[in-house]
């Protein structure tokens, strides 16, 4: 029974993180797939979301600014807003230039965000990071939440405490995973509506032929900034949920600019850029490969070590992560060269209405 429960919880965490990456990939799809904007600073936007959420919702702590204890939903919304604002500023500066410049600027912004998070220790606790971030659903079993609105209306603190002690510790996991999946689906429906709307078709037109779109009277720069901000909003939300999932965030490892950004890129390109379904499929697929390859490499190391006595297990374990990264990198190169359209190629929306 324990084994089944273990698999169930592993599946839940796969769904949770896969869903978070699916959100990031959907955000990137708006920027890259719809509008052709190269964002190399995904980790930066996710970090903004995570830190905004964390600072607004955590309890008082002597390590970082906080104690605002705002409702979690406010944290989620503000995470989106702040990521969007920063995207707007970058957009105003670089969007007119060619994609390469935007790539350089976004990688720079991600670095600057990391610097700020590392150096402003009064607010962010510097490299040590923020701990005890309240997680949606699980937070109900914390005292400050069950003793306040809305739970205190239903029942008294003592009986809530009894209730949460009586149920399994992992009760929140399916709810948390479910919430994220619902958000992914909601975002998907919204983006599909956008893609087939006049706005979406205009984006495709601008991406495919900027001059022609401009000649047809479309405000190219404005539309691009809109797409960039919309993508960043989604990334900020994904960041907020990543913060909730991890509960402890710090600037360098959690939001490793190259690793996280890179994984999202591989996901989108493998799934099919321009296709929202592809983005979600790619995210879950690559995340599944990524996390199961950890089991595979660990198993292979055990086998190697049992065959050759001289093999030093600790060195191999230490470096297994890099081998996985290497393979994911090669996978991207193969997809780029052989299947540039991805698993689910982009489908252009049919022309609606009468011509």
């Amino acid at each position: 029974m324990d084994i089944i429960l273990g698999y169930f919880l592993y599946g839940m965490s796969l769904l949770t993180v896969g869903g978070i990456y699916a959100l990031l990939a959907l955000g990137l799809n708006v920027q890259w797939g719809f509008a052709g904007l190269f964002n190399a600073g995904i980790a930066g936007f996710a970090a903004i979301g995570a830190y905004t959420y964390a600072i607004l919702t955590t309890a008082e702590s002597k390590f970082h600014y906080g104690g605002l204890e705002l409702p979690l939903l406010v944290g989620d919304v503000m995470a989106m807003v702040l990521a969007g604002v920063i995207a707007g500023v970058i957009g105003l500066i670089c969007i007119r230039l060619r994609a390469d410049y935007l790539a350089i600027a976004t990688i720079g912004i991600a670095e600057i965000i990391k610097l700020v998070l590392k150096n402003e220790s009064d607010i962010t606790n510097g490299p040590r990071g923020i701990n005890k971030i309240p997680r949606t659903w699980e937070h109900f079993s914390e005292e400050r939440f069950y003793s306040s609105f809305p739970l205190n209306v239903i029942n008294s603190s003592d009986s809530w405490q009894m209730f949460f002690e009586s149920i399994a510790r992992w009760w929140w996991q399916p709810f948390f995973a479910g919430t994220i999946i619902l958000i992914v689906l909601f975002t998907y429906v919204l983006l599909e509506k956008l893609r087939t709307s006049p706005w979406g078709r205009m984006m495709t037109a601008i991406r495919e032929n900027e001059m022609a779109a401009a000649a047809a009277g479309k405000d190219v720069t404005r539309r691009r900034i809109e797409a960039f901000i919309l993508g960043a909003l989604i990334m900020g939300l994904a960041g907020a949920f990543l913060g909730q999932h991890l509960r402890l965030i710090e600037p360098t490892q959690t939001f490793d600019p190259s690793k996280m950004t890179f994984l999202v890129w591989v996901m989108l390109i493998a799934g099919g850029s321009g296709n929202n379904k592809g983005a979600i499929l790619g995210a879950f697929l690559i995340w599944f490969i990524w996390s199961s390859s950890e089991l595979v490499t660990n198993g292979m190391i055990e086998i190697l070590a049992s065959i050759f006595d001289s093999v030093d297990i600790s060195i191999l374990k230490n470096r297994a992560g890099f081998i996985r990264m290497l393979f994911i990198g090669l996978l991207l190169q193969i997809i780029l060269q052989r299947f540039p359209k991805g698993i689910l190629p982009e489908k252009r929306p049919a022309v609606s209405g009468k011509i």
Binding site: A40, G108, E111, F262, V266, R319, F322, G329
Partner: protein
């Protein structure tokens, strides 16, 4: 004047800034060449730098095990050859297939190469820092005594001295290559107008190979100089260099190698001088934000004049 202001300023801010600027300049040459000739922002350039410093470390280890006490610059010779081969290899198998594709494909490919090369180094040498040169770098006694006799004491460690001299030599060589050789002229022609260069009978593929050789060599030199300066190597050092190098290339104007050199020197000096207590006692910009300086200069340049100081290209 010298005692109260100049001594500290020149020795502890200006010279380190100049050294850092030289390293950025060498790295930016490769970036601006590939940007100008192949027309894409090469994200894997910093990793070539990093790899060559690891290779140098490895060669020094090999030499030492053979009983030869090698200076890093001697280890750098075989390392730079390996770095050039690596750059050519990467171009052949990962960039060449995209020659006729939209350039953004090659940018994504180079973004992927960045991770691949770094992971490879981490697999081979491990993720931890390695000591490149042991000990504290003492100022060169001869220069110190000579300048002190003129009331103008300069404290230049030997490592800084060799970096400055080495950079000047490479620049002179590079200048000769660009202005006086057939290959250099071809590179400038392709950078200006690839179609015109092609119909004039220039073998563009050869020029691209030459670009990788020159860029790879400069990157290797920059990597070794950086390792000599900081005295340790780690797998993220290339990525840390990437942003200042891009900033230098954009500041100098894309496709303008000497602009990139000027840009590199400006960025290096600006980063070091930003820590000088210009106003009051504390540094103007906290040292933690040093790497933000390059980015701000780059963003400012992109707003005011995207073509850079020396009329580079804007794509």
């Amino acid at each position: 004047m010298w005692e109260s202001f100049g001594f500290e300023f020149i020795n502890f801010y200006f010279i380190p800034g100049l050294v850092l600027g030289c390293i950025y300049a060498l790295g930016a040459i490769g970036i601006t060449l590939t940007f100008g000739i192949l027309r894409f922002a090469n994200f894997s350039h910093g990793e070539i730098m990093m790899t060559s410093s690891y290779l140098t470390w490895e060669f020094i280890m090999i030499f030492t095990s053979l009983g030869i006490l090698a200076h890093p610059l001697i280890g750098a010779i075989p390392a730079s050859i390996c770095a050039i081969l690596l750059a050519l290899f990467v171009d052949r198998f990962f960039y060449k297939p995209f020659r006729n594709a939209p350039t953004i494909m090659i940018v994504i490919a180079s973004f992927g190469m960045m991770l691949i090369i770094r992971s490879m180094v981490q697999v081979i040498w491990g993720p931890n820092q390695l000591t490149f040169v042991k000990g504290i770098a003492k100022p060169n006694a001869y220069i110190r005594d000579l300048t002190a006799s003129f009331d103008f004491m300069l404290l230049i460690p030997n490592k800084h001295f060799s970096i400055l001299i080495g950079t000047v030599l490479i620049m002179l060589l590079f200048n000769y290559l660009l202005s006086s050789t057939k290959i250099g002229k071809g590179m400038r022609a392709v950078s200006d107008n690839p179609d015109l260069a092609k119909v004039s009978g220039i073998d563009v593929e050869n020029i691209i190979k030459a670009t990788w050789i020159v860029g790879g060599f400069c990157a290797a030199a920059a990597g070794v100089f950086l390792a000599m300066d900081t005295q340790f190597i780690e797998s993220t050092m290339g990525f840390r260099m990437l942003l200042p190098m891009f900033a230098a290339a954009i500041l100098g104007g894309i496709g303008r190698p000497f602009g990139a050199v000027a840009g590199g020197l400006i960025i290096g000096l600006a980063e070091e001088l930003s820590a000088y207590p210009w106003l009051g006692d504390g540094p103007v910009i906290s040292p933690g934000y040093k790497s933000g300086v390059a980015f701000s200069i780059m963003v400012l340049m992109l707003i005011i004049k995207p073509s850079g100081l020396f009329k580079g290209k804007v794509f």
